[in-house]
């Protein structure tokens, strides 16, 4: 039961993109088409599952003081592997994702899960948590990409749709459309979820690295 909970919390209650608002850069950049979004989601999920497993396995070995650099090295290694696999087996996807593939390294979701979950839990639980978060990330990307692709270019995963393909709003596939659709989606989530939108829902207060980077402490000291 607990395992199931670990899995589902990432998809709905603690969706990394729509609720925790992490990993905004790849969300905005790769959601122009459904295929790209699914490719990005899958790549990030693979990295997330394995990084959570490795970090959980090493949680007693890694000294507390240098844990963040250790996590980054481990994650960077995994991202490089994924990058090489994508280059070898899906060169078209590699071309489409471009710079955002290596940038999975600095995706807040991955480091955030390492810090918040994998460093405190057993290997299996961490893997399930990583998988759930990855699926949640992919789901959010898919949702955004669907809106942007269906209304922006009138196609669904590359197949033209009737009517819409003649009347598409191409601004949605461009940069401003990304911000707009993301804003509307989060507003919709706020509307339908029970919890009231907190004032500091985003920004440094919610960043998983905040504790490590010391900005919060400085702000607290000011107060």
């Amino acid at each position: 039961m607990k395992a199931l909970n670990n899995f589902t919390k990432g998809i709905i209650k603690e969706n990394p993109v729509l609720v925790l608002v992490l990993g905004t850069c790849p969300t905005l950049a790769t959601s122009t088409s459904i295929i790209n979004a699914l490719g990005m989601g899958t790549a990030a999920t693979v990295v997330l599952v394995f990084s959570n497993m490795v970090i959980s396995a090493l949680r007693k070995v890694i000294p507390d003081k240098v844990r963040i650099p250790c996590y980054i090295v481990l994650i960077a290694g995994l991202v490089t592997m994924v990058q090489m696999l994508v280059k070898a087996f899906a060169p078209a996807l590699d071309e489409a994702l471009g710079i955002y593939l290596p940038l999975i390294v600095v995706n807040c979701i991955i480091l955030g899960r390492a810090e918040m979950f994998a460093s405190k839990n057993k290997i299996l639980a961490s893997a399930i948590d990583g998988f759930g978060m990855g699926v949640g990330f992919t789901f959010a990307l898919f949702l955004m990409a669907s809106v942007r692709e269906i209304f922006g270019s009138g196609t669904f995963a590359g197949y033209p749709l009737p009517v819409l393909s003649n009347h598409h709003i191409s601004i949605l596939t461009m940069a401003p459309g990304g911000f707009l659709v993301f804003g509307l989606l989060i507003a919709a989530v706020n509307r339908f979820s029970k919890h009231k939108p907190k004032k500091n829902d985003f920004g440094c207060d919610n960043c998983p690295q905040a504790e490590a980077c010391g900005k919060l402490k400085e702000e607290a000291a000011k107060k």
């Binding site: 850069c25 905005l28 650099p69 490089t80 989060i186 939108p197 004032k199 900005k215």
Partner: protein, 198 residues
């Protein structure tokens, strides 16, 4: 010379890191509330981008490429940037405390800022030489600065408005970002017309 100007202007206006490439969104949304923190953050980003390019570019050209180690790019770059930021912070703290006071808070935040890693990787991907890479880094930093400062102005105007309950906080900020980004699309084509389609 024209080439440098083209690289600089297109990095600032057309391929703006935040508004058209979606890199560095976290600080863009998180630190843009007040003008002074937005300025401090962007100055730190410009500084780190230039330093990171100056260090990673030779590493790629003289260490990774000749030894056929191109696949280590991601790992090496992120480590170099992280170490560099720490080093810069220590040096600033010791020797230029006034600068550390204004930029220091933002330095550790930048380690995992995707704009910084992005600019170093893009410089290699675009096949720039060292001078062009430095100009591109400067332009990208200035573009980030411009977007941050403009957006902090937009946000201070939003603060006092009456916003629907579910749009409060992040959603309205994102929609404001969409409009700011729309204004930057107006620059498209300017460079081609200025320099005769180079």
């Amino acid at each position: 010379m024209t080439k440098f100007i083209i690289i600089l202007l297109s990095a600032v206006f057309i391929n703006n890191y935040v508004l058209s490439r979606f890199l560095g969104i976290c600080p863009f949304l998180g630190v843009s509330k007040k003008l002074d923190s937005a300025t401090g953050m962007s100055l730190a980003v410009i500084f780190v981008m230039l330093m990171a390019t100056a260090v990673t570019f030779p590493i790629q050209k003289y260490l990774l490429d000749p030894n056929d180690l191109g696949y280590l790019q991601t790992i090496v770059f992120i480590l170099v940037i992280a170490a560099l930021v720490q080093l810069v912070e220590i040096v600033l703290k010791k020797y230029i405390p006034s600068l550390h006071k204004s930029l220091g808070v933002y330095l550790p935040l930048i380690t995992t800022n995707c704009a910084v890693l992005g600019v170093t990787i893009l410089n290699i991907d675009e096949g720039y030489n060292f001078a062009e890479a430095m100009v591109n880094a400067l332009g990208s930093g200035l573009g980030f600065f411009l977007a941050m400062v403009m957006f902090s102005g937009v946000r201070s105007t939003i603060e006092g408005n009456d916003i629907p309950e579910s749009f409060k906080g992040l959603p309205v900020t994102l929609i404001a970002a969409a409009i700011t980004s729309l204004s930057f699309m107006g620059f498209g084509g300017v460079i081609e017309n200025l320099f005769g389609g180079v």
